[in-house]
């Protein structure tokens, strides 16, 4: 079998695992918080989006490096 492609793609897939789990945890905590205390929604929303952005950064770095580091 002959597979043609770039190993960078696999690297990007690996780098997306952690952020995927992280983003899931962030929004799970956000939903939990709103369910327990609906009036705190506004405050929690900002924190949730910052947490989302920070954990997503790793996946984005992986994506950029997948294109930037050409073999």
């Amino acid at each position: 079998m002959n597979i043609v492609g770039n190993l960078n793609t696999i690297g990007y897939g690996l780098s997306a695992i952690g952020p995927g789990i992280g983003v899931g945890i962030v929004f799970a905590a956000f939903i939990n918080g709103v369910a327990r205390q609906p009036e705190a929604r506004g405050q929690l929303q900002g924190i949730a989006f910052i947490g989302f952005a920070l954990s997503e950064a790793l996946a984005i770095l992986g994506l950029v490096l997948a294109f930037a580091l050409q073999a």
């Binding site: 506004g42 405050q43 929303q45 900002g46 989006f49 910052i50 989302f52 952005a53 997503e56 950064a57 984005i60 770095l61 994506l63 950029v64 294109f67």
Partner: protein, 259 residues
């Protein structure tokens, strides 16, 4: 891989970085440059229209402008910056409008190119943000105070500090603008690539490929392209919001008096 095509058709080449290398329109002016200027003009005109003849009971244009300003003031600046937030609302509003319009260019017909999918553009914008929050921090605390806030968390044993201070310095001063710009760039880049992939794939299946099965299946590729256009619209708004939200939080942390 087995191919179903009977006669040799040229293989499908997935779009890559080359899809973003647009030829200059005239002189050195490329499409992103034109869109940056266009975005600035659109924003100036819209806010002009919204703020002329301001009344106590707002008309439609004034209502839209005030809502936009209100979103930034109430959900971003007030929560993130603290008591002195009003001073920074104009900057944040302008930033939000600029990033939002430039992102939405990615799905507006005939433009269909998110300006920030060229890395140079978000680098410049994040550089501006870096200058602003560094200036605010240095002005508020003095240079030493700003460095202390950024790299010297209180109540930490000295042997942790050896590792922690370089990390804090790296993450708070150097990596902040890098991640800020790369996040925006990466999202716009990936989103545009996704749309290009679906549309070009559909076009290949319909026009170039010989297999009748692929021709019949090609509408699904276009359908996915349309679905992802809506998804992209959502991502573009969220990314503009996150960009301005993180800017506000950076300004907020350099203004904070102590941890």
């Amino acid at each position: 891989m087995t191919t179903t095509a009977t006669a040799p058709a040229p293989g499908f080449e997935a779009p890559g970085v080359d899809a973003f290398q647009l030829p200059p329109l005239f002189g050195d002016v490329t499409k992103p440059v034109l869109q940056l200027v266009l975005a600035a003009i659109i924003i100036v005109v819209l806010f002009r229209v919204a703020t002329t003849r301001m009344q106590l009971v707002p008309g439609k244009a004034q209502f839209l402008g005030e809502s936009f300003h209100g979103i930034v003031r109430n959900t971003v600046a007030r929560d993130m910056i603290g008591p002195e937030f009003l001073k920074y609302v104009p900057f944040l509003t302008a930033l939000f409008a600029f990033v939002l319009v430039n992102n939405l260019f990615g799905i507006i017909p005939f433009l269909q190119f998110p300006t920030f999918s060229h890395p140079g553009v978000p680098y410049a914008l994040a550089g501006l943000v870096w200058v602003v929050f560094t200036y605010v921090g240095v002005k508020h605390h003095g240079f030493g105070g700003y460095m202390r806030i950024s790299t010297w968390p209180p109540d930490v044993p000295w042997w942790v500090r050896i590792i922690l201070t370089p990390i804090e310095f790296l993450s708070n001063i150097i990596l902040r603008p890098v991640t800020l710009s790369l996040r925006l760039f990466g999202n716009m880049f990936a989103g545009h690539l996704l749309l290009v992939l679906f549309i070009l794939g559909g076009e290949y299946m319909l026009v170039v490929a010989d297999s009748i099965t692929l021709k019949i299946l090609s509408p699904f590729a276009f359908l996915m392209g349309i679905v992802f256009t809506f998804f992209e619209a959502f991502i573009q708004v969220v990314q503009a919001y996150i960009f301005v939200m993180l800017t506000a939080s950076y300004i907020g942390t350099v203004l904070a008096d102590d941890h």
